[in-house]
């Protein structure tokens, strides 16, 4: 892979089977087997022949309707999901915020949860402990809250802590899925600032967001995904504009009709 690339995605397809049974239980499986029936399943093609290069230091926004395959793409880049076909090459340390409240046990304190989340992402205990206060400060937790059980946190505090943990890992590649919806306007501005700082350090960021202003404000390039395909790639303003037209009109622009 060329050195200037952080991520290379080659002809990536991901498909998986989902059960059409109302509830998948052992009891139903045994009943089906005794009646020699097959389970009713449907194959979901989440990504289809997806190809993309992401250079180091770029901030890529990903837009698309629900079911476009955005989260699947992020999880595949993070190594959480495996490709069905094609391959993904990643160069650098990844930090992810794809589901809010990562590793968070509500009975444990914020500090304990930070340690657990950090260890899960591959850091050593010393590395995490040296960052704990910085994380608490960034998450703007009120005094002493870092040592209180997470179940006492408001949803905003919970979201801010998750985001603070993800950005504090000094990743080379940061993957964020709707993470910026956490927190109030002031925290959002602080998050933007932190991400701009990461960009200035030439770190690569991928952002999935339905808040299109986030994409135009933060990203230097954007892609539009539709039903598992890469529909368009370009300047964020242009992509967002096309996507908004699609949302208003409800059909794809004529140039995309073949997709």
């Amino acid at each position: 892979m060329p050195e200037e690339l952080a991520i290379r995605i080659e002809d990536l397809s991901i498909s998986y089977k989902v059960s059409l049974e109302a509830k998948r239980t052992l009891k139903n499986a045994v009943m089906r087997a005794s009646l020699k029936q097959k389970e009713r399943t449907r194959t979901i093609e989440a990504l289809k022949n997806f190809t993309l290069d992401v250079p180091h230091g770029s901030v890529l926004g990903i837009v698309g309707s629900n079911g476009a395959g955005k989260s699947t793409l992020m999880r595949c880049i993070a190594g959480i999901l495996s490709p069905t076909e094609g391959r993904v090459i990643v160069n650098g340390k990844i930090s992810t915020l794809l589901a809010l409240g990562v590793g968070f046990n509500p009975a444990l304190s914020g500090r304990d949860n930070i340690i657990l989340g950090g260890l899960a992402s591959g850091l050593t205990r010393e590395e995490i402990e040296s960052k704990t206060d910085e994380i608490a400060e960034f998450a703007a937790l009120p005094d002493g809250f870092i040592d209180l059980p997470v179940r006492t946190y408001s949803s905003g505090m919970y979201g801010r802590l998750s985001f603070a943990v993800a950005v504090s890992m000094t990743p080379d590649i940061l993957l964020l899925d709707e993470a910026l919806s956490a927190g109030d306007a002031a925290f959002k501005e602080k998050s933007f600032e932190r991400m701009r700082q990461l960009c200035a350090e030439a770190r690569t960021i991928l952002i999935v967001s339905h808040a299109l202003a986030t994409v135009t404000d933060l990203c230097d390039t954007a892609i539009w995904m539709h039903k598992g395909n890469l529909l368009a790639q370009g300047k964020p303003e242009q992509i967002v504009d096309d996507y908004l037209k699609f949302l208003n009109v409800g059909s794809l622009p004529s140039s995309f009709e073949d997709m």
Binding site: P83, L119, T170, E201
Partner: protein, 291 residues
């Protein structure tokens, strides 16, 4: 754009696995590298479990004590003529404690993947670390039962001086072997049930009955030498049979282990890890979709 300061190239390639298993050496290396996560998760889960309890970690000792007392009542009431004094009580206690060590590995491990949903959706790490952490936690919960057992033995000897209790013997050096085999067997079976629970969410309900039946089929409430004829097979075809048989020989009778028992202890430990490991690792890429 140039790469960031402090950037350390770390190329990772994600491809379809031609065989059903991912490359095993990198997987096991990553498992080992992140072992601190499993130990800390076990620590924190323990901490969270007893955080709201007034008696806190005293429950770690109270639980097995009460359990032993309940089963002792059951056994002496069911078989009033069969009470053999302390020999029966010490066998019952150490059998129960060892069985519960394995059972806790399996039942907590079975839930570890479905309970770790957000972690699994967000982070890439060897998923086997989650049931492994449950096995560590089960071992930690087992440890306080050893002084409890020794205390009861000493107290019993003091109360009933005629009861035979083995004094110190070098055969006790078999105990670490028995515990390692029990832990490995429990962890291997946890891998099987954790995978099943992802696909069939009622597995855990079934597990309640499986473990109950399993205990009745294991030499916990009955002595291994009470089996006659073909029934002796129970000691070998049951994955926990050999370790519980070994437990009775070493802990209760102060005897050494025979070759057959050693062989089956090792056999079930390896078989559980290999079968459980294959079943789990070959399907763990599916977990993020199924959860």
């Amino acid at each position: 754009m140039p790469v960031s300061e402090g950037f350390q190239p770390k190329i990772q390639v994600f491809e379809p696995h031609r065989a059903s298993l991912p490359p095993l050496i990198p997987y096991l290396k990553e498992f080992w590298r992140r072992r601190a996560f499993a130990t800390e998760l076990a620590n924190f889960t323990d901490k969270a479990e007893y955080l709201d309890s007034r008696l806190g970690k005293i429950w770690l000792v109270l639980n097995p004590l009460l359990l032993g007392f309940v089963y002792y009542l059951v056994v002496t009431i069911i078989r009033p003529g069969g009470n053999q004094g302390l020999t029966r009580l010490d066998h019952l206690l150490i059998g129960l404690f060892t069985f519960y060590f394995a059972q806790n590995c399996v039942t907590a491990g079975a839930l570890s993947i479905t309970a770790g949903g957000r972690l699994i959706l967000n982070q890439a790490f060897p998923r086997a670390l989650l049931p492994f952490s449950c096995a560590l936690q089960a071992f930690r919960q087992f440890l306080p039962t050893i002084p409890v057992y020794i205390f009861i033995l000493i107290a019993g000897k003091w109360a009933y001086p005629q009861t035979q209790v083995p004094g110190w013997t070098w055969h006790f050096l078999w105990i670490p072997f028995i515990l390692i085999c029990t832990g490995l067997t429990g962890f291997g079976l946890a891998l099987v049930f954790a995978t099943l629970n992802v696909y069939f969410r009622d597995t855990n309900k079934l597990l309640t009955y499986i473990t109950r039946i399993w205990m009745y089929l294991s030499p916990v409430l009955w002595l291994p030498n009470s089996l006659k004829g073909h029934m002796k097979l129970l000691l070998y075809i049951n994955p926990l049979g050999p370790v519980l048989n070994a437990t009775a020989r070493v802990w209760v009778n102060g005897q050494s282990l025979n070759k057959l028992t050693i062989f089956f202890c090792i056999f079930w430990a390896f078989a559980s890890i290999l079968i459980g490991g294959y079943f789990f690792i070959s399907r763990e890429r599916d977990f993020a979709i199924r959860i």
